[in-house]
Amino acid sequence: MDQGSGAMNPEEALLFAADAARVMLESGGETYRAEDTAVAVAGALGGAEADCYATPTGVTISFVGMDGRVHSIVRRIKRRVMHLERVALVEEISRSLVAGTRDFRAAADELGRVEGLRGRGMAASSAAAAAGAGFFTLLFGGAWNDALVAAATGALVSRFPPVMARRQMPDFFTNLVAGAATTLLCLAARRFGLATNADATVIGALMLLVPGIAVTNAIRDTIAGDLVAGVARGADAFMSAAAISVGAGAAYQLWRLAGGAL
């Protein structure tokens, strides 16, 4: 963020609004929320007739400044990782800016801080993944041993997407390999007598990968009238689901070829 003093100019306001919307979309905020935030912020910073068009893959904002000139900016969004704390904080920044309880400099600093916020550490997120997978297995009718296998698999496999993202691997490939690895680990665990209910075990562990929220959000966006965003999210969800299915399916076929029962 620009640290200069003096009056804020339209360019700064526009950059700030665009960054607020971008951080929100990158962190799993809804499309309309990102749009509302950008418009509210741009309006509060002196832009008349501000408008924002957001999709999961990009934001476009334009407004007419006090001087009557038209300003606009495009921000591309490449990565989307769930970080709900960021969504809440950006919302809070935009509200305080609109209410006038925070000035532009403070808001810009805060937005920079929020963008730099790291997720939880490896230990905490692995434990959370284990809990998510294990309890889902119980919910789907698995027994305690199934839940433990799913938890271990989930903790292991949840380490995988961040590593792949750092190496700039496409999500499709990540999901494919993660789906296959999850399925193979669970089937192997059943083969060695650690798990009994393979379906519940695999579902619990796969729950960490499967784009259930993405499908739901795609429909929610469409209901809210953000048609392009909804269709884009739907396509994203479909590709993830397809990749996981191909991976898991390949793992099943391999398992069968190797003589294992389904």
Partner: protein
């Protein structure tokens, strides 16, 4: 039939996901309660009506209202609680069974499962839309503000 502990498992699974989604620690139990609540509504209703869509839609309404209440009290966007609360309902199992049917070569069963999976997601989305509209009509924000005891509220959230 719903096992007596199922809402507990649903809540704990939600807590795991909420932590993974980097929800603030003190919000995690609140979001988890939403997940448990949703399952406690959905499971018996599905058993009683035999319709997954009805059950999930009703549960999503309850989760949505719970999230709006929390949002008003905690002064945070409702969507952070919604994203976690719907986790137990979200059709991950359906996607898995769809895949399984295709792998086993039962394309027609796979298609049917895929459709019911989409239906479940749609039912959740509709339920959330209903609860969003209802909370605006009933001005839950005002109630939340009263509970919080603060005179000023934030910008209205759609």
């Amino acid at each position: 039939m719903m096992g007596p502990l199922e809402p507990l498992w649903a809540g704990l699974a939600t807590a795991g996901f909420a932590t993974m989604f980097n929800l603030r620690s003190r919000d995690v139990p609140l979001a988890a309660a939403g997940g448990a609540l949703g399952w406690a509504v959905a499971a018996p209703l599905q058993a009683a009506t035999g319709s997954q869509a009805t059950a999930y839609c009703a549960a999503a309404v309850v989760i949505g209202i719970w999230a709006e209440l929390l949002a008003a009290i905690q002064k945070r966007p409702a969507s952070v609680y919604i994203a976690c609360g719907i986790i137990p309902l979200v059709p991950g199992g359906g996607m898995y069974y769809t895949m399984l049917e295709y792998v086993r070569g039962n394309s027609w069963n796979g298609l049917a499962t895929a459709f019911s999976t989409l239906q479940a997601a749609g039912a959740i989305a509709v339920g959330l839309a209903v609860s969003g509209a209802a909370s605006r009509l009933l001005s839950l924000r005002k109630i939340g503000r009263r509970i919080r005891g603060s005179p000023r509220g934030g910008r209205t959230i759609r």
